[in-house]
Symmetry: C2
Subunit: 483 residues, 2 copies
């Protein structure tokens, strides 16, 4: 980046808000997808909306790439810097501006940590529902950018279902206020469009979220199965019976073993799979529904069904699930966390396909996931120090996503596309659909400065990947050169 | 329209799918906003996606305006024809393609009537939640176009919260499939963007909706108040106490009187306002929560609280509310139904402002609305045969929307903008925000053939209306000529 531009950027910011030395910039060279690393030209840490506007006006004029970053906990490389580009860190946008118990909403800056919203709302008996497993670190702005989910999104929805309004700065440096505290809003629903747009349409500086009343009572059930098919059937039967669990998670034998070795929570180590099912609501209702769930799972073929006796046993059942990722981290030097979603009825068949692929690639795989949503998280085990193993893990991961699409699912559940899954976008979407995405991008960012190279592939890239999905007609070759 | 083009359109369609004679076309000259009427050049009633594609390719090439129409029950003029344009009626897209109880979803063509989805899902114990009062007639495609709500959207959300995927035909005649049956989907969230876009971004031909389990039990409470402020306080207190009613409706004295004279359901005619509150769930929970609601409303100042003894009394309580619009229709030759949303805490003050305006305009007004959402529906009474009264009613309605915006609300709750509220869009949004809307429109429909003149005003129109809201800076005059 030219010195002139760096100096101009520096002048817009308070002291100590620009990082250009390599040592400090290293912190920002990757997000949670640490297999990809790139040093940016500089890292900027503005404190006000006006500073964000000033940065964008300069970068738009100079065509400098801008990558927004919250806490950097994303798992698909959405916050991976671009060479010669700027990382726009929103860590200093950390104020909770308003908690409104009457409107059941909270207005916060985009760098506020997810869990802090629930903590601030707690005295009113309210909380913010989406709970990604990184919730003690991840920011609400990053949650919006990636449309984050969590264990409880089966009942309470993803981020997009829990957002009321956004304040954003456009690529050209203008401020837009989109959505409102009211249920509906006039005009195109840009706040839903921005949610999940991975920093490519604008920089989110303020978020108004819905708050929900804390459920008065909840309980967890643990069921073990000798066959994965029976567990898959159990999930389907719970849903088909009209039950809406607060959470419904599955772990396979490898995951159970890893967790037991690490945490000793008392999971049945000989089971092929376990299900954890949480029901919340008023006490009588929870107890009634829990008895019904137990009955359904026994009929589906569960060997054993344990209903937590009290809150502390519920917590113990969850503790193993929550520690599953670090527990798996002990099985191999590295693991690669995949994320795809399938129709629930295909859970068993897709898990079996993954097992077959695991044999073909010679890499272990552990499954621990949001079964109620059909949102898989296969953890592929590998050793980055073995030449070629990371590439093999990536390829295996890509194959899993293709299996998800073949089963009628999608290539993302809650982690976004980023750089990780960009090739699989060519399988998920037709050229016409990708072209429509490009047109939307251009409507917000005609010069393409916001997070270039992420989330939506060019048609050229798809052509090179050899996999443009032509569903509805001709391939618009004319556009290949354009994007 | 040129004969050559008419002949070409006719060739794409089955016999009897084109209406050009004035008598038959009159049926299509307005929607539920019958104060505005316009004969189109022709009405087309295609039966297949390919026919819709063919129509759009011709109209795009010839720059002929296309107005999509479901059942024509919309209240904001979204389906008002354009002179020399085509009305694209989707009435023949009336097939339910799939009910999937395991995935809890239904895939239907866009001309399917709202209530038919719930009827088809009923044997699985499932239903489609959004229930606009026109649900026995309105189509799901129209619901998506207007982001329709209903009595139960307080708990179950608007259309946008209950849609999984859409199949649409673009202005240029391409088919896009957006969203998926899975909870999340990769790429920009175009299905949320299309929802509420009032036929301006594409023609929706297929909709996949979420189905919900029917609540096992529900009960309605009726509370009467001597003062409107106390009723407003009651609404706020229910919400602030962490209760999520299935519905929470308010009617003012004029509405109560009209309903009693028409239906004799036993509403308290001397009350200044009544609230109807429905709670659903399992029986014990409903009874507990109902007792809590009764206590809260008594503390807020209710004179009388009646909890329905059984399902039939619940139905009787609702019957009056459901008949409110026809009942009001007996008070004056015409009424004009407004639709705006405000933060709940301002209910009483906004109702008082409306009463003052009613005096100023010399037109009666009746209020019956979704209090829990803060979604007002003032019904302005007028007589179209009195010269100037319709204009006065419209102006009064516009003033009400401005009051909603001043109170921090929005100009639409669930009826959309259409032609009715297009001037008020200039008050709700800044020039920068409107310009962003125009850019999104261009990304989908570069020639502007889809429903021109609706929902999003040009900057020129706002300048003429004298009310461009400049929140964040300069007015981009350069763009005024363009749109």
């Amino acid at each position: 980046m030219q010195y002139r531009v760096l100096a101009e950027l520096k002048k817009c910011l308070p002291p100590d808000a620009m990082i250009t030395d390599e040592e400090r910039a290293r912190v920002y060279e990757c997000d949670g997808l640490s297999g990809y690393r790139q040093l940016p030209a500089c890292v900027l840490l503005p404190e006000t909306v006006e500073q964000v506007q000033a940065i964008l006006r300069i970068c738009y004029r100079e065509k400098i790439p801008v990558v927004a970053r919250g806490a950097g906990t994303g798992l698909s490389g959405g916050a991976l810097p671009v060479q010669d580009g700027v990382v726009l860190g929103l860590a200093r946008f950390n104020r909770i501006l308003d908690i409104n118990p009457l409107q059941r909403s909270a207005r916060v800056q985009s760098g506020v940590v997810n869990i802090s919203i629930s903590e601030a709302a707690s005295c009113h008996g309210l909380y913010y529902a989406p709970d990604p497993s990184s919730q003690i670190a991840c920011t609400i702005g990053g949650n919006v950018a990636e449309n984050a989910g969590g264990v409880h999104c089966l009942k309470y929805g993803l981020t997009v279902h829990n957002i009321l309004a956004l304040k954003m700065v456009t690529a050209e440096g203008d401020v837009l206020e989109i959505g409102s505290e009211a249920l509906d809003t006039a005009g195109y629903d840009l706040s839903a469009l921005l949610t999940g747009s991975e920093g490519m349409l604008g920089i989110i500086v303020e978020v108004t979220v819905k708050l929900l009343p804390k459920p008065p009572f909840s309980r967890v059930l643990l069921a073990s199965f000798a066959e994965i098919e029976a567990a898959g059937r159990g999930v389907a039967d719970i849903i088909a019976n009209g039950i809406v669990p607060a959470g419904l998670e599955m772990m396979d034998k490898a995951a159970i073993g890893a967790v037991e070795a690490y945490m000793h929570v008392g999971y049945p180590v000989h089971a092929a799979a376990i299900l954890l099912c949480e029901i919340d609501g008023v006490e009588e209702e929870v107890k009634d529904v829990m008895a019904q769930v137990a009955q359904i799972l026994r009929s589906a073929g569960a060997d054993e069904v344990r209903i937590a006796k009290d809150a502390s046993e519920s917590e113990r059942f969850w503790a193993g699930r929550k520690a599953a990722f670090p527990a798996v981290g002990r099985l191999a030097p590295d693991y690669y966390c995949m994320d795809g979603t399938i129709p629930r009825k295909h859970i068993a068949s897709v898990l079996n396909r993954i097992t077959t692929l695991s044999g073909e690639y010679g890499l272990g795989v552990v499954n621990v996931f949001h079964a109620g949503d059909g949102n898989l998280h296969p953890l592929i085990l590998y050793d980055v120090s073995v030449p070629g193993e990371f590439g093999k893990a990536e390829e295996f991961g890509g194959r899993i996503l293709e299996v998800c699409v073949e089963a009628g699912g999608t290539i993302t559940g809650e982690h976004g596309v980023g750089v990780e899954k960009i090739n699989q976008m060519c399988i998920q979407f037709t050229a016409g659909e990708l072209t429509q995405f490009h047109a939307v991008k251009t409507a917000f960012d005609a010069r393409g400065i916001l997070n270039p190279g992420k989330a939506v592939p060019t048609l050229r890239r798809c052509a090179e990947f050899g996999a443009i999905h032509v569903r509805s007609g001709r391939l618009p070759f004319a556009d290949i050169e354009r994007f």
